[in-house]
């Protein structure tokens, strides 16, 4: 009977080991940033210049000034060329920079800029920017850079945007499991929906 006991202990040990591995394998919000590849864009757009802090020479423009649809649509949207020109036609000082010249080339030719998509979720996933912005920016009153940064990382320090977060299902779910305060001054908390149907389309 000793042998059976040994076998039993072995099996229990295996299962416990697997379980504890699982506990460790679960992604946490604090996992080190998983840097995606550097992507070549038609124009090397300097996010840090536009959105960066003043001390780093940035202009601290709100993300949603350009990605204006984020608060009212599923997608954040890439600004139309018109939007870039709107400011840049009156900023003479940088007019000769090669990137700006390129921009004006597109504008003059009335051609759209073929940006590469950096944060590209699988086709069967629905991510709603509006909901997240409404929840954390408007309702909970968090700073916009933090809210956008939950998923997009520290874009204000980047030139061309680069993916920093895993964007995997477990990563999404780990935040949806967490209790967040429902508004700025509330002790009441709530978590995101856990229906599969909410995010899978």
């Amino acid at each position: 009977m000793q042998h059976i006991l040994r076998l039993f202990i072995l099996l229990v040990g295996l299962f416990a080991g697997a379980g504890s591995y699982a506990a460790d394998a679960a992604p946490k919000l604090t996992t080190p940033d998983d840097l995606g590849p550097q992507i070549e864009q038609p124009i090397e757009f300097p996010h840090f210049r536009h959105a960066g802090d003043a001390k780093d020479g940035g202009m601290q423009i709100n993300c949603m000034y350009c990605h204006t649809y984020a608060r009212r649509s599923m997608v954040a949207g890439i600004p139309p060329v018109q939007k870039c020109i709107g400011c840049h036609q009156s900023i003479e000082s940088v007019r000769d920079k090669p990137r700006i010249q390129k921009l004006f080339e597109y504008w003059d030719a009335k051609k759209p800029i073929p940006w590469k998509k950096v944060h590209d979720l699988p086709d069967f996933v629905r991510f709603n920017h509006e909901r997240h912005i409404q929840r954390f920016y408007f309702q909970q009153d968090r700073p916009y850079q933090e809210v956008c940064g939950y998923c997009h990382g520290n874009v204000k320090a980047m030139t061309v945007a680069q993916r920093q977060k895993p964007l995997t299902m477990g990563w999404c779910a780990s935040c949806h499991q967490k209790d967040h305060p429902v508004s700025a001054n509330s002790t009441e908390t709530g978590h995101g929906p856990n229906d599969c149907f909410t995010c899978h389309k």
Binding site: A22, Q134, C196, K201
Partner: protein, 293 residues
């Protein structure tokens, strides 16, 4: 994530049912304030097929063609059934009072037979009372369809978008970007136009108000030329669908409706195969035929 989560996680699938483990309905336990439901007035329904075509247009359903249709592989989430009166006996058809039409789609059962049997949990109950079908989770065991009493689940027997090329350029530009185009090997079915209910909920939430009838229409309801289909939140007493269910004395959580019917005042509401206790979310209203002529 740990072993304890194993038990916790899967049990969540069931807790959205208003029907507890002993089979007793329990509304109080319902996890949200929305329960989508439908009612279809068979007296108004003319069987014209507009709802079915609208469903094709809205939900990216593939047109399978004659050969596959002949193999019973059609993908119509909404099918129109045509019955005859059988006054002289079963199978003896009588056309004197016209035909009977019945639009049949997923009944979004509250205690759905399909949900419990899926080995991977690809179909489960949502908080707003739908049977969800998660295409990417589906491994194609087809057990759900095997256990569906209405047979309203449709399986992708082929790779329609890519190999069968059912949307030759430029027909593919018509595809609705709000939902996926399913590939081979996954089950699919009516979702009560989930993309629409989702948008309605989203907009209502942004505006900080509950969902109203005017926020959402399913594609079939929107098209129906005679307005036979009513859809809405059963929990909202102001919604048309809730009023109809109430006036017909049909309750979601009962498998046998004890109606207060007087002589000459039959209530028309009924649910199909209710006695199997799936608690379907679609109420049909009986067709009426004049007897004076």
């Amino acid at each position: 994530m740990s072993v304890s989560n194993l038990l916790e996680n899967w049990s969540k699938f069931r807790h959205t049912h208003p029907v507890d483990d002993k089979g007793h309905p329990d509304w109080e336990a319902y996890p949200s304030d929305i329960k989508w439901a439908m009612s279809i007035d068979l007296d108004a329904c003319t069987g014209c097929n507009a709802c079915s075509v609208a469903c094709y247009a809205e939900n990216n359903l593939p047109v399978v063609g004659k050969e596959k249709y002949s193999h019973g592989q059609a993908m119509h989430w909404m099918r129109i059934e045509r019955y005859w009166d059988e006054s002289a006996g079963v199978g003896e058809f009588d056309a004197d009072k016209g035909a009977r039409f019945l639009p049949m789609m997923c009944q979004q059962c509250e205690a759905a037979p399909c949900e419990t049997v899926c080995p991977v949990g690809a179909t489960n109950h949502t908080e707003d009372g739908l049977n969800s079908q998660i295409y990417n989770r589906c491994i194609g065991s087809r057990y759900c369809s095997a256990n569906c009493p209405y047979k309203v689940r449709y399986f992708n027997w082929y790779n329609y978008p890519e190999q069968e090329k059912v949307w030759p350029e430029p027909l593919n530009q018509q595809l609705n970007p709000d939902l996926t185009v399913r590939t081979k090997g996954v089950m699919e079915k009516c979702t009560f136009c989930k993309q629409r209910t989702y948008t309605a909920r989203n907009n209502a939430k942004t505006e900080g108000r509950p969902v109203q009838d005017s926020d959402v229409q399913t594609a079939c309801q929107e098209a129906c030329p005679v307005g036979a289909i009513t859809f809405g939140n059963l929990f909202n007493p102001e919604s048309q669908v809730a009023k109809q269910w109430k006036s017909q004395q049909v309750e979601l959580t009962k498998e046998v409706q004890d109606k207060d019917e007087k002589e000459g005042n039959r209530l028309r509401g009924y649910r199909i195969l209710e006695e199997l206790r799936p608690y379907p979310s679609v109420m049909y209203l009986e067709r009426v035929r004049e007897s004076a002529v």
